[in-house]
Each structure stands twice: as structure tokens, then as C-alpha cells.
Point group: C2
Chain length 269, copies 2
């Protein structure tokens, strides 16, 4: 099992997702919100890219069966029931409902990831352990896609991806070979492709390994990472500090939302 | 002062380098070798992209005044005096000489970085502190460019960039605002651009901050990072473990090689 990390969604190369398990992270706040709505009993989430699409989808559904949620520039949209704060999506509001969700970055990132792959898992700190467990059950190579912020590397998404890796490593150990202890193989095994160096079942590419180290660095205080990040600081400026505190919680619940064919749902075991 | 990190040289956007101090890192092994040759008394390095160019440049120079050095696939080139191991470039060989250097990735990365900027500093763990000091003297926004490996994120280059940031932070502290202690500003300061959040003189963008955390994580054992990286593992497979041990040394000497107009040199203070 090989883990690749794509630092921003715009860096996805088509083939990288082929026959692999894909996870998308946009933890401030789309993927944290999506995890939360399912933990609170929501039936399904329909992620749409444009605000107009959200209203169009709503018109096809019976009244009182859906919630219109989302943001632009981190602010709730006119005519919508809710914004993009996971704290708004309380059980009494979302239970058995359909959430139609559109966000600046996250809903687009989900669809972009899905273009090159099968189902896309939705990852966050809140459900990191559950995502890790699911990935191990799927037993394929893994691609962790960070949405990023404005097309650039984001600290918080990489942290969450690293946390999922940490949960995997806890379960099966890392396979990156400790070459300090092994005999040096002969030079003729040098290949033009990056070799599989592992003798067991897990190889972390460099970006995945860096994410793991980031998760280890912040293990005792993931909230600090969210506060260190420029996007986190912007949310605090908007008065949304509580969202950071909420999204920084690790392994709060066991749901693994899965996007497929336009719909996000959770399997009932 | 704002620090931007470009994770791989192919991600350089033209404007990002404008009016900024640029540093290029390819620590396994081009930038470590370049630092070493100057520490050992070399007069100048001429980085060239193609092997044919190296021979062509050599023909313009008097005999016994130059060294042909470099590699393809980490292996020394036919007809060259030396490969790309810094350990080959001993003082008695390089003193007062011109080194003509061509490597798979590093020499190209230097020229690519220079296209959008003025002079390019050559950074490595070996000269991290000296590079940091130089950047503070230049007193401009900073762009740290990691060469990467085969177009992908490389752990070792990011570590070295993070080490330079750590040396800067040691000197002047980080300016990323600690919002846990400050009052929350009103929402109307929210801008569509990433804001300058610092009250003092240093802002780390997310990728730069992640590199800093990586450097802190590996501070006690930078060699481990080089051994963790896939490129480092390949060099070990080739029997070049000693190169990793050498390149993992931090602040071994004070030289800051600077590339400008096709030539790398060091200023004599």
C-alpha cells in the first residue's frame, strides 16, 4: 500500500487517482461540516458548485426535506438556511434531511477529485481514525487530496491528511525501510522510477511523510496548527474562532462520508 | 518580511519572485556540492544544463583551470573529472578552479529560479545559518524554492528551507500573530487577499510554516529526514550513504554562493 499526497487540488494529475482510494480534505470548513451533518443524522449531502445550482436542486425536492447551506468568502449566502459552520448543523435541524451544500473551495475540490477516481471519502480531523480504518479495509493504494487555500498549500488540510496517515501507521506501522539497519543493495537495482522500498505493506511518498511529521508535531495541540494557518487566522478575524476549536477535535466520531455520482452519503454498517 | 515557499521548481509563478530574495535548495546533492566547493576554495561555478554545454564551456577555458563535474541518474558522466558527490570536491582539487557543473535537476532549477528574479542564493543545511543571515541583510520578502525530485515534493529540500526559516526565526522571532491572545478584530477587515497579519516583521505563509515545523521536528536528527526521503533512499542504494551523512550536517560553514548571469560565486567580505 502506497500513500501519495496531493498538496492542492489543482495539482491532481489524472492518472494518479486511477484504481486508488481517494480522500479529500478541506477541513476549514467544508469537510468538517460534511462529517458533522452525518454524525448528526443527515440523510445525504448534495454538493453543488454554483449558488444557482443549489436553488435549482432545491426546487426538485419536497418542502421541509432539505437544508440550503454554504458560503462565499466564508459568509452565509442570501436565501440560504445555513452557512458553512459545522456548529450550525445541529441534529434537530439536519436529521433525515438532504443538505444542499455549496462552498468556495470544498465542493469544487470534491468534484475535481472524483473526476479521476471512483468514490471519494471526505476526511477531516473529526473523523480521521474512521477514514484510516476505511482505507485499510479498501486495501488499495491511497491518494490524499488537500483542497488547499486559493490554489496554495494549506497547513490545516495537510495536517488532517497527516493525521489519517498517523492513524494508519498506528495500526500497521510504516514500511519505509530503515536503511541504517539493512544491508545496502547493489547499485544495479537503481531504477529510473521511484522504487518500492518497503518490505511490508506501506510506503509513504515524501509529501505524505512530511504530512505525517506535521501531524506528529502538532499531535498534542492540533488547534495550534489551525491558528497558525493563514486561513484559520482569517476565520478568527471573521469572529469564527469557535469553528477552529470545533474542527481541531480529533476522532470525534466514526462517520465516513463518501461522494459518488453527485451524492455524499454514509454507508450503514 | 514575508516568506513564501515554492515546494517544487515547476510550481514557480513568474510574479512570485519579483523584487524578492530567492534561494534555491537541491540538497541531495547539487546545492550541498556547490556550497562545499566554495568552502574548499573554488573560484566560481558555471552551472550548465546539458552535458554538451559543459564540454563546450570547458573548451573556452585554459587547461588545468577547470573541473568538469556532474551526474545523470546520480552517476558520474563519461569524460568528467568528478561526479556530484560533495565529498569528491576536496580543497586540493578545487582551490582557485572553475567548476563546470551539470546535474539532472539542480542546475536546471537554479536557472529556472533565476528567470524570474535577480540573484539566486544557493541554500543547503551546510550553510543554512549563513543564508539566513544574508537574507536578513538583503531585507526583502523571501521566496524559498525547493528543486523537488522528478517534479514532486521532496522531503530533504523542504527540510533545508525550513532550517533556513528556523535560523531567521531564531534571530527575529516569528510575526505570525498569536490570535489566542489578541482581541478579535472586526469582520470588516476581512479582505479577499491574504492579509498581512503580523505586527512585527515576519509573516510565514502556510507552506513556509510547515517547512519550519519539519525542521523543528528533525532538529535533533536531520540525517533521519534524508534517510526517510525516497531520493535519499535511492542514493543509499547506490552506495552513497556517506553523501547523506555529509549533506545532513547543519551550519558547517559560512559561505553563501550566489548565482547571477550564468555564474555562481561568493562575495568576499
Amino acid at each position: 500500500m502506497r500513500i501519495t499526497l496531493v498538496p492542492t487540488v489543482r495539482e491532481i494529475e489524472k492518472d494518479v487517482l486511477l484504481n486508488k482510494s481517494a480522500v479529500m480534505f478541506d477541513i476549514l470548513r467544508a469537510s468538517s461540516t460534511i462529517s458533522t451533518v452525518f454524525a448528526n443524522g443527515c440523510k445525504r449531502v448534495l454538493p453543488v458548485e454554483e449558488v444557482a445550482d443549489a436553488f435549482a436542486v432545491a426546487q426538485t425536492l419536497p418542502e421541509n426535506t432539505y437544508i440550503l447551506g454554504g458560503e462565499r468568502g466564508a459568509v452565509k449566502l442570501p436565501g440560504f438556511h445555513l452557512g458553512n459552520s459545522p456548529l450550525e448543523y445541529q441534529p434537530d435541524i439536519v436529521r433525515d434531511k438532504t443538505v444542499i451544500l455549496t462552498t468556495t473551495n470544498g465542493t469544487r475540490a470534491i468534484r475535481r477529485t472524483a473526476e479521476g477516481s471512483g468514490p471519494v471519502l471526505i476526511g477531516s480531523l473529526l473523523n480521521a481514525s474512521a477514514v484510516a480504518q476505511k482505507l485499510l479495509e479498501m486495501n488499495q493504494d491511497i491518494v490524499l487530496v488537500c483542497a488547499g487555500t486559493r490554489g496554495k498549500f494549506s497547513l490545516e488540510d495537510t495536517l488532517a491528511a497527516g493525521r489519517v496517515i498517523l492513524e494508519i501507521v498506528k495500526r500497521i506501522g510504516t514500511g519505509n525501510k530503515d536503511l541504517t539497519k539493512d544491508p545496502v543493495p547493489s547499485a544495479d537495482i537503481y531504477l529510473d522510477e521511484v522504487p518500492i522500498l518497503s518490505e511490508n505493506d506501506l510506503v509513504l511518498e515524501d509529501a505524505a511523510l512530511a504530512a505525517l511529521r506535521l501531524a506528529e508535531y502538532y499531535a498534542q495541540n492540533p488547534l495550534q496548527a489551525l491558528q497558525d494557518s493563514l486561513h484559520g487566522q482569517k476565520l478568527v478575524q471573521l469572529g469564527l474562532r469557535q469553528d477552529l476549536t470545533y474542527c481541531a477535535q480529533v476522532n470525534l466520531f466514526d462517520v465516513v462520508p463518501v461522494y459518488q455520482d453527485g451524492v455524499i452519503s454514509v454507508e450503514i454498517d
